[in-house]
Amino acid sequence: MQIAQQILFVIALGIAIYFFYKNVSKIRRNILLGRDEDLSDQPKKRWSIMLKVAFGQTKMVARPIPAVLHFFVYAGFLLINIEVLEIILDGILGTHRIFAFMGPVYDVAIAFFEILALLVLLGCVVFLTRRFISRIPRFHKPEMKGWPTKDATIILITEIVLMAAILKMNATDQILQARGVDHYANAGSFPVSQYLVPFFDSFSTSTLIVFERVFWWFHIIGILVFLNFLPYSKHFHIILAFPNTFYSKLKPMGQVDNIGSITNEVKMMMGDPSADPNAPPPESFGAKDVTDLSWKNIMDAYTCTECGRCTSVCPANATGKVLSPRKIMMDTRDRAEEIGKRLDSGITEPDDKNLLTYITTEELWACNSCNACAEACPINIDPLNVIGQLRQYLVMEKAEAPNELNMMFTNIENNGAPWQFPATDRDKWTTEL
């Protein structure tokens, strides 16, 4: 019986790891559909940003209530994993609470995990309440209809169920320990699950062993299933938040990279001797599809957990325009997924869609380039960067700027100012001093 459980466990673990690895590899491939961009400079600074922003969650504090609740769930996730390690070792080796030899340290740890589990559970309940009872507006924008909302609900309910399983497992375990049942040596202290003991105390020892096993299996299988849910879910941010903040933009937020191939063209036009006449002319300008974006833009998209802080601070969105920075990131991810799925089924020829099938020009032209979205993102996603590249495509490839902007361009070309004033009047103000 024991050995059968061990074999089953190893098989389950193997399957879970295999599928997780496979799906993460697909996401990695989809991210690398983007063009190259070297973001390996200043590693020290990058580590420190990652530690502060992802590990230390410094950008979450701007909104204190969700920050505290999220911290519970996050700390729970990080620390309860230590217990998951024990569960995995027990599962493989057929032991029970293999770390129990640590004595009082173990007791304190288990007690601490129980309190964390309770906090995670409470955190998730409040999160569900905020979403569906107080109906915080940012969770109910148009792009949240359908799967995104379902996704969030699945995540929160799964976490509640998993935490409940840990606590119930501990409740039955401590009864078995107290009854001196073989294999259930005295270990751990249970400040939370002790209150569940009365619900189970009346059962016979053999029933309790079944209960304990069921909760144990339910908890670990639940974790393995949840692990494999991650690549299909916005919850993948728990992994990508770290690399994504590592590859944060280090330059001032207002800086937008100059397109190098255009620099060479302009230099040749101006007869600059430093221009390279043999450089290949630029193939295309800006981004029409995710494959034209940088890999970092696509990583941003896969990192997004759809919290909507960006959209809630966007001046265009706040004044009723269709632009939602969160939707820009969700569309980018969905389009990368779409291309990825085609690759999975072996289709190599391009489809008739692109990123602009998902994002309308009305959204793009409503942007104020104010950087509120990028500033608000707790894990340094930069929606403005995607918007900028799509605008470049619209203007330079399609010549589809709004008419007023075309007039502005003409004015700059003709008289060096965005308005139609004669260049000779530029210093007229000096005569009025």
């Binding site: 330059k251 001032p252 937020m253 207002g254 800086q255 937008v256 990279d257 100059n258 397109i259 255009i262 620099t263 302009v266 101006m270 600059d272 800006g286 001046p315 265009a316 706040a318 004044t319 009723g320 325009k321 269709v322 632009l323 009305e362 032209w365 409503a366 104020n368 380039s369 104010c370 950087n371 509120a372 500033e375 900028g388 605008r391 470049q392 495509y393 619209l394 203007v395 330079m396 700027a401 709004p402 007023e404 902007l405 502005m408 361009f409 700059i412 060096g416 100012a417 965005p418 308005w419 004033f421 260049a423 000779t424 009047d425 530029r426 210093d427 007229k428 103000w429 000096t430 001093l433």
Partner: protein, 263 residues
Amino acid sequence: MAEKIHVPTVAELNAKGVTPDVLFWVGCAGSFDERAQKITKAMAKILAHLEINFAILGKEESCTGDPAKRSGNEFLFQMQAMNNISIMNGYGITKILTTCPHCFNTLKNEYPDLGGNYDVMHHTTYIQDLINQGKLTFGKGDYKGKKITYHDSCYIGRANGIYNAPRDILQKLDAELVELKRCRSNGFCCGAGGAQIFKEAEKGTKEVNVERAEEALETKATIVASNCPFCMTMLSDGVKHFNKEGEVQVMDLAELVANANDL
């Protein structure tokens, strides 16, 4: 008013064999927009008052290309940038002062890559430096105790992380700074950025500048201080939308500083 101020061009100084210590980059709004010209004049008066060796490019100045770049016209941006750089490098310009956050951002952050390396300052930090060096003092206290609110422009605030200099200046003016509900890194755009000022806004329920002006009026401040000629336009229009232009003034920091010195 004291005697007429002469604002030299770089070319004019160059002919005399002089290089200005500071190039005052006026920008298109500062040159042509009637309201923004007042900011330009205030800044020029401050510079002249302190006898700083400055000059403008005059007719040789041309749009930095910023609105083209934000709209996606990288070609036009780089052409403007490289023309401007060749002129400024030709004169050996090393230090640039500008009263426009958009010019500031692009000159400081996007020109170096194209060969234009200058020490670029926006007038908020420039004035703060002058105050810190003791060159600029305020004796009269025109604004003492006056309720002033301050609007963080996106391109000085979030885009370049300058939040304290403008507030320090207001403090030096002895004004009572009343913060807007959304301020500093959480500041709310005036609605002009991203080349929006050059076009009609997309369909929505409200204009961005009206939303921001409403917030400014809620502070009950009598002066809304700004640091950007485009914010100036947007906020002034927003205040007018509520028919409050008689009670509430939108003023650039340079204007407040010049006024406090009777310039």
